[in-house]
């Protein structure tokens, strides 16, 4: 088994940059969303297509990122 069709792309969710890394393992697509800087994983999902796995990851990342409070300094 190998990770195939590995791809990364950046997008924005709830005002925060998000990096999506997706790839196929056998018949299943896997996706990991991280918060770019600092790079912590936010979601790890699967789907029968890349789009499905990415959508799940983006939904979960959005839920978490929406809770982040920005303070004036």
């Amino acid at each position: 088994m190998k990770a195939e069709e590995y791809r990364e792309r950046k997008t924005e969710v709830a005002g925060w940059p998000v990096n999506l890394a997706s790839y196929r393992l056998g018949a299943v697509f896997h996706c990991k969303a991280d918060n770019v800087s600092p790079g912590a994983a936010l979601a790890r999902t699967t789907g029968s297509t890349r789009e499905e796995a990415e959508k799940k990851a983006l939904d979960r990342a959005g839920q978490l990122l929406a809770r982040t409070q920005v303070r004036a300094v």
């Binding site: 088994m1 190998k2 990770a3 195939e4 590995y6 925060w16 890394a21 790839y23 393992l25 896997h30 990991k32 991280d34 918060n35 800087s37 600092p38 790079g39 912590a40 994983a41 936010l42 790890r44 699967t46 990342a61 978490l64 990122l65 809770r67 982040t68 409070q69 920005v70 303070r71 004036a72 300094v73």
Partner: protein, 287 residues
């Protein structure tokens, strides 16, 4: 790997692929979220969970020596085993494991350059099989606390000067705009950074593929902030895992002798009553 001070502590994905069946080598994937290991890992690799197997689960601390010995022994790791560690999140938690193994005196422990991300991106072989390894007896030494900074040492460094403090969190954590990485739980009462700390996010030490930048690039990166190895360095982040990544860079890639990881980090400092805190823009180098 040329030009690094200690290239023997870093191996490539090629090297790991070539040593998959080497009985003297034990490959370990270390993650916060062990679903990564479960979805597929390097053949022959065992998996360690950072939060349950590499930390004291009762008090906030690294593993007690006896538990470390038990973990390594049950993982088939002897004192003379070459341990190669890799993981998700650009090797943050792998670096934590390496730091801890060094604290307890393991001689030959190495990071896989680029971590899990590079292995996946290169389309290398993965397996779901969890290897059955024969348990052995492991005897740790130490702990060598010269690799670790505790709160009193950070306070003393702040009072006495003569140290370089490096904050490896993201710029917005450093300024105090956010109290934790976006999307993660806030674990402190106050935002900002330890006075005099320089902001050098851990990720600046890496290329896009997750591998470490060249020694020259790293020297320039840290040197530009006055961190050149001429004085002791204390690195910190939020919980000590990102800073163990930078600790590795300074200690083994640049060869600085006096580098300590303040694993209490901002979760400790940002909760202290009365501790000095700076907020706002990244400080200019005062060297």
């Amino acid at each position: 790997m040329a030009d690094y001070a200690h290239p023997e502590t870093l191996v490539s994905t090629d090297w790991v692929a070539q040593h998959e069946s080497d009985p003297k080598v034990r490959v370990v994937e270390v993650d916060m979220d062990t679903r990564a290991y479960d979805e597929g890992h390097i053949p022959g690799a065992i998996g360690w969970a950072w939060n349950s197997q590499l930390c004291d689960t009762v008090r906030r601390d690294i593993l007690p020596k006896a538990q470390l010995e038990q973990l390594l022994g049950s993982s088939g790791i002897s004192n003379d085993t070459t341990v190669v560690i890799y993981g998700d999140n650009n090797n943050w938690f792998a670096a934590w494991a390496l730091w801890q193994l060094k604290i307890y005196g393991h001689q030959d422990v190495r990071l896989m350059n680029g971590g899990r991300k590079k292995w996946l991106a290169e389309g290398r072989e993965l397996t779901l099989e969890v290897p059955k390894v024969p348990a052995v007896t492991y005897r740790a030494t130490g702990p060598d606390n010269s690799l670790r900074a505790f709160l009193p040492q950070v306070e003393a460094a702040l009072e006495g000067g003569g140290h370089a403090l490096v904050d490896v969190r993201s710029p917005q954590e450093f300024t105090g705009e956010i109290l934790a990485p976006p999307g993660l739980p806030e674990t402190c009462q106050r935002g900002g950074h330890i006075p005099t700390a320089r902001s050098i996010p851990w990720s600046k030490a890496c290329n896009d593929d997750g591998t470490f930048k060249s020694a020259d690039e790293l020297r320039s990166l840290y040197g530009a902030e006055g961190v050149d190895g001429s004085k002791p360095v204390i690195v910190y982040c939020r919980i000590g895992e990102r800073s163990s990544h930078t600790w590795y860079v300074l200690k083994y890639l640049l060869g600085f002798d006096r580098v300590t990881n303040y694993d209490g980090s901002w979760t400790e400092w940002g909760n202290l009553v009365g501790a000095p805190v700076e907020k706002g823009a990244v400080a200019k180098a005062n060297a």
